[in-house]
Symmetry: C2
Subunit: 425 residues, 2 copies
């Protein structure tokens, strides 16, 4: 290692982290260490399809080491961040302490339970691949319970699924679960009938998909209603007691499955001055994603809040496109920085937002207008296949989808439960 | 349900159970309930490829409910057998009690640790899909540890893999792990070098693949030796203390990974008269797979022992072909039984045995002769693709293999660890 090599540590290999590394690794004056608690990058917009067994985990994930194969100046360190020490320029992880010249925080968000203890304990979150596989196992196991019981109330409880949250994750999950009930379960569970009326979606806002256009909101409502989901608006899930989901309107829904997609909070980092952590736990950064009051620590994507973009004076939305664009720009800016050139400020280019509601039906808000139905679904498909890393993932995902859509009948409904038993004596 | 419908309970959906159900379901006079602790059938000969991330679990498994879709007289009951009561004609499972007219036990074998407590506790078995995924996670995690440590002894321990058992599972696993070390790890772990000398295979017999021909044994030895594996014969693994594998010759090998493929024992069932359970825990059956001293309980495949086949006076080998052929015959025989016709005795047709040792190299013993090398590998490929249930599995498996073999570089090395947290309040 030459003396003037700069060591950059990146915490988190999501959209922001990966796009930053992909850009910066072109500049061989940097040694980059990516720290992540998982050994793979994954594509969060599709985890809801993993949770319903439409696709495999491996279709939307890619090992970091494979991604950086034969790039010896990019290293991977598996571990969780414990704290940072900006004065000593070092980070402490669960698997060792590392020293940096520049530190990039790109850890995204975690599920926010807003202090509801029972919900935090028993609800199923939908943030990670492991969450998605847990939900898959849980729903399939509850179906097996429903089949075995002869008690009607028990059966309803086992089959009822309540989704708390009417954002894209909640709506997309509701859509695919409703499809599943209609197309698959009736054929495979001869003991059960009337599978359509077991799905509830509860949202605190007066609409579904609040950040999208009114047209998108209405389309989502119409499609989910037609699929048989019960949509409860202006209402919050406030507790989960003895398998009963308690709503803010006083109603309770008996349900063994509560999926929590209601909120996120930026991941907190120990070692950061409290005044730098602002709204939603996000780290205050300048126009170059530099953390306030430092020159060697940066934060990207969902974890940061920049109020220097004239079009977004309150900060950018916590979406993939912001993370991707910030990651790439910071990669370029670090090269400029060590060249002594001025860095370029971040300006967000909104490419539109989209959600898939059911088979062949999606909604897309573009800066130039609104798309729905089949055309929206095809554009959704393109947008979701193209960013997936690796030809194999694209090919296998396309094959899986084609198979699932042609046959209406994916074959992945396996309850796989590898244990976490410690194997070393 | 008509009064004269006979209820048949089958415990275990492996080769024997599935082939029995596939045959018997043609006869609509039977209602069949399949009991299994998993919700899927899987193909054990390929789990070693799951454990090394060459293929996905879903490539070699198939949900029972999908398999019996739209066959309402075949039911699935998820649960583990606790005990049988042949007098009352009922079985007690972890998820309820069921009553039968005929009972078929097809539960196969479990790993036999021969009473070695430390080995049972810390070694990795290789019997189930969950075992295979646990081994995948474990090996990948140990590699991450090896990367992080600077202590050479610690690093060796983390990277060393000892396989106890030189049968097909041990040999096949050794072959694919050696390939992995040679083809992949060097590219992805720039921090490590000399990856070939970390694989040990220990066998108590004086040869590898003891039940196969001398030619097959020699070929296996030659190929594994060339791949850099250390082969230790005439030796047993007898203990596993503080990450040290203790051998019967007094040697110890420091290793964080001990894979145990050394022995199996038939699954024991409570409620069976002790005199019926003979060698290796197998249940004594007559030529029609009927359990001794009963007329309504049958046992199939690895779990039973029949000494009525003139060519196999000591009983049949515990291999897939015996289980498949017995399952199909019993399906036919139960129809004969309720027709008042005599049942046909089981006669085993040996189609040969095979093992794959490395990429493009396999060994095949046929009743008519011996094959090795590339031709053996192609026939291995056919034999393993054809029995896989479902077109999609065949297609995706073929695609995965083609991809892995062309690129030498599968992309599935994900450490996925869904938890087992109880989610219902």
């Amino acid at each position: 290692m030459k003396d003037n090599t700069k060591h950059v540590i990146v915490i988190g290999g999501g959209f922001a982290g990966i796009n930053f590394v992909k850009q910066l690794e072109k500049d061989k004056r940097f040694l980059i260490t990516l720290v992540d608690r998982n050994n793979y990058h994954f594509f969060p917009p599709l985890i809801y399809q993993v949770s319903t067994a439409f696709i495999e985990s491996s279709n939307i994930s890619y090992p970091f080491r494979r991604l950086f194969q034969e790039k010896p100046h990019v290293r991977f360190h598996m571990g969780e961040l414990k704290r940072i020490d900006p004065m000593a320029k070092q980070v402490e992880t669960t698997t060792g302490t590392l020293v940096y010249d520049y530190l990039v925080l790109a850890m995204g968000t975690a599920t926010n339970y807003f202090g509801f203890e029972n919900i935090a304990r028993y609800a199923m979150p939908m943030k990670t691949l492991d969450d998605a596989m847990n939900l898959r196992n849980h729903i399939l196991l509850r179906m097996e319970c429903a089949v075995r019981t002869t008690d009607l109330a028990e059966r309803n409880k086992a089959m009822n699924v309540v989704i708390a949250g009417g954002g894209p994750t909640g709506v997309e999950l509701a859509g695919i679960l409703a499809e599943m009930g209609r197309e698959i379960l009736a054929k495979e569970y001869p003991e059960l009938s009337d599978l359509k009326s077991h799905l509830y979606i509860v949202n605190s806002a007066p609409v579904l998909l609040p950040p999208m256009s009114t047209k998108a909101q209405q389309e989502a409502y119409k499609v989910l209603e037609k699929l048989g989901a019960r949509i409860i608006l202006n209402t919050k899930v406030v507790d989960y007691v003895s398998n009963n989901v308690v709503l803010s309107n006083g109603e309770t829904i008996p349900a063994d499955t509560l999926v929590w997609t209601s909120g996120v909070t930026a991941v907190r980092v120990e070692g950061i001055a409290p005044e730098v952590v602002i709204s939603g736990g996000r780290i205050k950064v300048d126009a170059f994603n530099r953390m306030a009051e430092t020159d060697t620590v940066f934060a990207l994507g969902d974890q940061c809040l920049s109020m220097h973009d004239a079009n977004y004076p309150e900060g950018h939305p916590q979406v993939a496109q912001v993370a991707i664009q910030q990651g790439t720009l910071l990669g370029k800016n670090l090269s400029r920085l060590i060249d002594g050139k001025p860095m370029k400020p971040f300006v967000y280019h909104n490419k539109g937002t989209m959600a898939i509601i059911s088979k062949y039906r999606a909604v897309v808000d573009l800066p130039t207008g609104f798309l729905s139905g089949w055309i929206a679904w095809v554009s959704w498909l393109f947008v979701h296949i193209i960013p997936l890393i690796g030809f194999r993932n694209k090919f296998v995902l396309a094959t899986n989808w084609a198979w699932s859509f042609i046959t209406n009948d994916p074959t992945l409904r396996l309850i796989l439960r590898p244990d976490k038993k410690e194997r070393t004596p």
